[in-house]
Amino acid sequence: MLPPEKDAELRQKIANGFIVETEDDMTPAYKAALEVILTVQGDTELVSAPAYYFASKDAPTINSRLAVYAIIQDELGHANIAYRLLEDLGVSKQWLIYGRAPHEFKHPYGFDQALENWAEMVVANGFFDRAGITLLADVHKNCSFGPWQRALTKVDREEVLHLRHGESWMKRLAKAGGAAREGLQRAVDWMFPMTLEWFGLPDHLKKHNDQLDYRLKGLTNDQLRQVWMSATVPLCDGIGIRVPAHYDSDKKVYEIEYEFPVAYDAKDKRWLFDQALTWQQVFQRWKQRGPMNQTYINMIQGDKNGVFGGLNW
């Protein structure tokens, strides 16, 4: 590992296109930033598995249920890639999966929510997986950490399939009309703002950003939010599903149509659009974690202290 005083030099090298390959190329601060982003990545993939599993029980056909199982299998594989890279940095995979309490996982708040029906399942594929691919495509294009950048070739390809599954089912439910369409609209109503929030603090409030300085990613939070909306808003407009955002052709950006961010009633899955929050309050809500946090992590960890439990490998 490089000594801390080499940090400015490392940042400069990275700005000139240097690719970090091993710990020998890193300063402690680079390594710490990399560990955070990889942990968020791995945890997000991991916890999507139990969330999707519960929702898959409402699949309308055997084929569609199988498609969700294949997606779950992919997501677990993606989690393994992130954790495997963390292992090379000296973080124990066993600890990552079995050693942490539910609230210590770093996935977004959106994956602390229950996905309770098929509409929510496919909107998760259409919105949450779209958020995932928005973030990861950027990493795949820009990331200064070579081993992660290369590993994402497979991940990106698989995420495209998840996305397609979500979007084609959203179109189908919208076209079916009636209760199917209403259920889809209800899912979009809470999941669209949920994903907007997922991308985090707006750029004008963000003072310093190690992830960008070390080029662990290339785009800012606001830029990523725009990329996400540039896919999801036209998708929903095209199938007649309402979303609280539109394209402003004068400013050439997607505009959120409420005071962002706002309070969320997790019990009723409802955004309180007249109750604006500070980001500090949002972070507090995230930190307290959402309703399914314990259930999902318990499901992954199982009887971790038992004979076959993960802590007795």
């Binding site: 084929n63 569609s64 199988l66 498609a67 698989e158 495209v160 399939l161 397609r164 599954h165 084609s168």
Partner: protein
């Protein structure tokens, strides 16, 4: 009536939803029949639990029905003989190998 060679050609442009390989190179197509403006394709999958079945069937139907002389296309899923790796074309084999998939 549409020539079956044109149908085979069109099927060569239908891609696997996950891998950069056509369903023709994957060896999924067993037979193609055309009668007046109606087309029927015998198609198999690499596994009975293939998660992309609906997507592939939709793509085949959309592709064929976009051809000028085709009014309707039907996909007939067949499981006999079962798909094996020997059904991959040479090109398909190369693509899969380049992706690190053992063939």
């Amino acid at each position: 009536m549409i020539e079956t060679t044109k149908i085979w050609q069109a099927l060569g442009e239908v891609m696997d939803p996950e891998l950069p390989i056509s369903i023709l190179d994957m060896g999924l197509i067993y037979d193609v029949r055309a009668q007046r403006q109606e087309v029927e394709v015998d198609l198999t999958f690499t596994a009975i639990a293939c998660p992309a079945m609906t997507m592939i069937i939709d793509d085949v139907r959309d592709k064929l029905e976009s051809l000028p002389d085709v009014a309707s296309a039907r996909v007939n899923v067949v499981w006999n003989p079962p798909w094996t790796k020997s059904r991959l074309t040479e090109q398909g084999r190369e693509v899969l190998q380049s992706l690190g998939i053992a063939v």
